[in-house]
């Protein structure tokens, strides 16, 4: 019996332990999973969880214990949401460890505000409106893509494994398309313009990744 990847939706052969498309680990419960086509929608239904997940992300100390406490079934259900927040968890954890190492942490000036990616449209409707912080102090280059190796993993089968990179130089943000299959586009007020190589992002940029995901880069 095939199993459906909770990250990108690919149908995988029964003997695959990892998704053949995005590399995400097979959920433990999926062995006896119900009919495939409804699975994704179902996990999209567990939206209630992102908040919990994010709260955990803010308090990395509690996180491992809590995560273990979750039943496997819950975890399987949450996988899709986690795909986005995992990166966040990592980012947060790294922040903490870095900050403890470097004693005089130059905290980003408050008035400048923090950058966030906000999801405007994705195949997982539950992610819409979600904001994910972009910590350029931790990751100089924030990679976006479908596979788990990215700083930010986005569950959309039309996004490439490694799709694009966000970077910050001074006060300017850039996005670089990594030769993605379906392209990266910046909205210019009229149409989505394809990004060739590296391009500067306007303020409050609206960016399309592939055909089905639109994000906005906000600062607040």
């Amino acid at each position: 019996m095939t199993w459906k990847c909770t990250g990108c939706g690919t149908e995988n052969p029964d003997d695959a332990m990892y998704c053949t498309t995005c590399g995400l680990k097979r959920p433990d419960e999926s062995v006896g999973a119900q009919s495939a086509p409804q699975e994704t929608v179902e996990s999209a239904g567990s939206v209630a969880q992102p908040t919990e997940q994010q709260e955990q992300a803010v308090q990395p100390v509690n996180q491992p214990v809590e995560a273990q406490a979750q039943t496997q079934e819950q975890q399987a259900q949450q996988t899709e949401v986690q795909t986005v927040t995992t990166a966040e968890n990592q980012a947060q954890t790294t922040t903490t460890s870095q900050q403890s190492e470097v004693t005089e942490t130059p905290t980003p000036t408050a008035q400048e505000g923090k950058y966030y990616i906000q999801f405007i449209a994705t195949p997982v409707s539950a992610l819409n409106k979600t904001k994910v912080p972009l910590d350029f102090d931790v990751f100089e280059n924030i990679s976006l893509g479908r596979s788990p190796e990215n700083v930010l993993m986005i569950p959309d089968s039309e996004i490439s494994r490694r799709h694009a990179i966000l970077s910050k130089e001074g006060d300017t943000l850039y996005i670089e398309d990594l030769n993605s299959t379906n392209g990266t586009y910046i909205y210019d007020g009229k149409v989505f313009q394809a990004v060739k190589g590296k391009a500067q992002l306007p303020k409050n940029a609206v960016v399309k990744l592939g055909n089905n995901t639109i994000i906005k880069i906000v600062r607040e």
Binding site: Q38, V41, E42, A44, G45, V47, Q118, I120, A121, S125, K129, Y187, G189, V191, F192, V206, K208, N211, N212, T213, I214, K216, V218
Partner: protein, 278 residues
């Protein structure tokens, strides 16, 4: 799915023809006016148990507004239409039936309704539904809320323009008609931004929404079209999405308005999956 007995077929097709006649004499925009108690139902997509629930529980309301998308996605579009249309014909002033983007051959081919008709009634009867859908009104104004499946369109400035839309329009081909069935609100955006749903569809942002509401003295927009756990509300509750289906595996919502005050009714999975399946 199996073929329907002749009697049921005939009575449904009769219902469809009568409803088409009724729709064709209605304007594309229904100015319903003020009603003290109203129920708003979003996309049902064949979830006839939700439709049934609405009529069983809110029949004494002053208006019941269906926001479109009665067919496709689940193979009970005909059962759903059977209930909606018969109630509509009984009381056309009270049961408001609007068109959704799935009331079109554009989607029926890919999302199941055409196949459902083929199985249950025979493919030769699909045309009856195309004609029916092409005459359905696009929008209604109830208690100063614009009720429409998708929302506002790039070139839509006044309600008058909806009133003047041509019927029948099969796809619909008119740009404004198409967009009001297909567009989605996004409070995070400004202006109209190309939508991921494809060519000719747009997201409408906060600024253009507020401007449209101001210019037309409307309180807000009540629409369906996007999957939600019953409801989603944005721009300070001035745009409310109602989703009343079951295929999306979340709760079905029914929006009630009583003396101007909104109430949200949720039908959970228990009801949707184990409810009456007769």
């Amino acid at each position: 799915m199996s073929s329907w007995p002749q009697e049921r077929r005939d009575s449904l097709l009769e219902l469809v023809r009568k409803s088409r006649e009724a729709f064709s004499s209605m304007k594309p925009l229904l100015r319903v006016g003020d009603r003290s108690r109203v129920a708003f139902v979003g996309d049902t997509h064949g979830a006839y148990m939700v439709t049934k629930y609405v009529f069983e529980n809110f029949s004494d309301y002053d208006a019941i507004v269906f926001l479109g998308d009665y067919v496709d996605r689940e193979p009970y579009g005909l059962e759903n239409l059977e209930i909606i249309l018969s109630r509509f014909l009984e009381n056309k002033g009270k049961v408001i039936v609007l068109r959704g983007n799935h009331e079109s051959p554009l989607t029926n081919e890919y999302y199941g309704f055409r196949a459902e008709v083929r199985e249950k009634l025979g493919d030769e009867n699909y045309k009856e539904f195309v004609d029916l859908f092409s005459e359905m009104p696009y929008a209604a104004i109830v208690n100063d809320y614009l009720c429409v499946h998708g929302g506002i369109a790039r070139n839509l400035k006044s309600l008058q323009q909806i009133e003047e839309l041509k019927k029948p329009d099969i796809i619909p081909e008119d740009e404004i008609a198409f967009e009001i069935l297909w567009n989605d609100p996004r409070e995070e955006l400004d202006g109209f931004v190309p939508n991921i749903r494809g060519e000719g569809t747009f997201f409408y942002g906060k600024d253009v929404t507020l401007e449209f509401l101001r210019e037309n003295s409307l309180k807000g927009i009540i629409r369906g079209h996007e999957v939600a756990d019953g409801f989603r509300s944005e721009i300070d509750e001035r745009v409310i999405t109602v989703f009343s289906s079951r295929y999306h595996k979340m709760r079905a919502g029914i929006l009630l308005q009583d003396q101007g005050k909104f109430n949200m009714v949720y039908l959970d999975e228990e009801f949707l999956l184990n409810g009456d399946k007769s």
